[in-house]
Point group: C2
Chain length 351, copies 2
DNA sequence: TTTAGCACTCTCGTCCCGAGAGTGCTAAAA
DNA sequence: TTTTAGCACTCTCGGGACGAGAGTGCTAAA
């Protein structure tokens, strides 16, 4: 695998780098001139032949320059840039932006998506942290019209669920409030299982509400991920491989139908590996839809409590040396935010 | 203005219809054949000359068929299809889909966006209903880590705000709960102004929290609109005028940057005209970015309480006769949902 | 092992050209 | 007066030809 000579690795790296910038097949003489190599183009050509034979490069046609193959990108990613660090300047910029929004929980995810898209100059995708087991915190019942009641359920991690309950008959707000406070006393701090195991309530109103509460909690837990935040789709669409081709539409479709990403997440990150960055190049034969694209993925959060996913989606020719460290850094940063928000959970039983 | 003969209106309508379907300039003979007109192509040609002179049609080049101008679409929309009704079948399908999701408040907006996109075969855009003055309902304080406190504020319309408060020193959960319940007693059912006018609190903890509460309520009220839901961008991108042209990117950018739509909303719908459908064709000279596109917009909700906007975005060549009734119907439907959710507000003072 | 030289191949932009579509005009028909 | 047939004219579009340019692989010399 790693039987490349130092010079071959250099040439491969330069070809990947040049191609990611220009989107043009790279020729031997261009390489020598642009990067001031102390070699002749003929020597570079010989090495190119070797790299092509090994499957790391290919020619779009006989008299064009070389382009990295999927294996070429793979080699580049695993052997050359995987350990790269995010420049301090970028770390500071990002930290600063988050510091300014630290109060505003609702802005965290959109902000993270925006930063990720901007830094990687590609499209970004983040799923909100999803609590694996969360506890009932507070229920609020709001009388609306006639028999309709708006139910707002706050969970211990701060998630909020809203549902409309239609009662058999109209119930005044004060009775609703009383029911809510009884249920709050009963359920506060309990998990779904604990609430389900409670002795059934007598009042039909409270029983109905409790059913709905359980339903909402269950749905929250069974959902694979939280809400999905996207940004930077424009970055991808302006890449030359997407203009005047229907790949652009396919890419947008991928983004609109979140199902693919859920599938992808489930299949590529089965373990609870926080911090590890997965790179999926050109669909890896498994995802036909991703043929010309790459995805850089990471999990964040606290395994067993709440986790989410973040990723960057772009052309196969993406700037991995920038994207990978950014994704890693953002995953760490979001993990920190989640742990601050969630770690009060265990101390709640004393309440 | 309306000096068109009946036959001219027919021909204009047919040209608009044919062009919206095929995206090809329509010629006189094609028109006669496709729609079995009892006229010769020469007669149609003469009428076309008249319509062209009046500015309703134009020729992309000398020997091509005719294409509607912006004025042509405008005439079509205002004089021909504006009153059109949505077919019963579509009404039933939509109502049914909403009936199935009636409990699940969080699904309402995504569902509406999806239906709108699907029915109009274009991109849709909805802003969540935005309460113009809403009342404090309930506050929850959740201790997290150290000095961090997660604040969840529920408003009377069901809106929920989340913020992180950093205290001067750590405070145990039970003291937080006490503070929250004192504030709840104090503020429940009150508007922003009423809370701001209350005598200042003594405890520094409660004072800090109250400041944050007011800040959150203010921000909610001053925001022009609620969250924005999008769907169906793929529909637009697969239209022929968008493939292999950078209009596609411009369209996606419009969707990513919500600022344009806020501008558009503010400028085209200044009055509280619920139910009226606005059609903006080709940017109307004011929006350079919308040159090849049209937008069909409507407000929904209850003026003075909570309103939102919904719209369809597509190529100028969109199926207005389908889109306009759909937008109108959806606006009515959402208005109904909002009124059910919100109209309990006034009866809350008795609480 | 590296490099210079060279013939070879393939793409891409341009030009040319003919087919096809649609028009506008004129004159005849209703 | 209105409608229609006939016809010459114009413009686009797709295909083929062709030369410039870029880049390669190979061979032989350094």
């Amino acid at each position: 695998m790693s039987e490349l000579t130092e010079r071959q690795r250099l040439i491969l790296a330069l070809i990947v780098r040049d191609y990611t910038e220009t989107a043009q097949p790279v020729g031997s003489s261009r390489l020598v001139e642009a990067y001031k190599l102390d070699l002749s183009s003929a020597t570079v050509r010989n090495e190119m032949v070797a790299l092509t034979d090994m499957g790391y490069l290919r020619q779009p046609h006989t008299s064009a320059g070389r382009v990295p193959t999927e294996e070429g990108y793979r080699y580049f990613v695993t052997h050359i840039v995987y350990q790269a660090d995010l420049p301090d300047a970028a770390r500071h910029t990002i930290s600063h932006q988050f510091y300014q929004a630290r109060q505003d929980v609702e802005q965290w995810m959109p902000l993270a998506a925006s930063i990720l898209a901007h830094q990687s100059r590609a499209a970004s995708l983040i799923t909100a942290p999803h609590a694996e087991r969360s506890r009932y915190k507070h229920l609020e019942l709001i009388s609306t019209q006639g028999r309709q009641v708006l139910m707002v359920l706050v969970m211990s991690g701060g998630e909020v669920g809203q549902q409309i309950l239609t009662l058999a008959e109209p119930v005044p707000q004060d009775r609703l409030s009383m029911a809510a406070s009884r249920l709050n006393e009963l359920c506060a701090g309990r998990t779904t299982e604990e609430i389900a195991a409670l002795p059934p309530r007598s009042g039909s109103l409270e029983k109905d509400i409790l059913t709905l509460v359980l339903q909402d909690m269950n749905r929250g837990e069974q959902r694979v991920s939280g809400e999905i935040y996207l940004d930077g789709l424009t970055n991808v669409l302006s890449e030359p491989e997407f203009i005047e081709s229907d790949d652009a539409r396919r890419a947008v479709r991928l983004f609109e139908e979140r199902s693919l990403f859920q599938d992808l997440l489930a299949r590529t990150m089965p373990d609870s590996s926080i911090g590890g960055v997965q790179v999926l190049i050109g669909g890896e034969g498994k995802w036909e839809e991703l043929k010309q694209c790459s995805v850089v993925l990471a999990r964040y959060g606290i395994p067993g409590h709440a986790t989410g996913m973040l990723g960057v989606f772009g052309p196969m020719r993406m700037a991995y040396n920038r994207t990978i460290p950014t994704v890693r850094f953002m995953a760490d940063l979001l993990s920190g935010l989640v742990s601050e928000t969630i770690s009060g959970e265990d101390s709640q039983n004393e309440q």
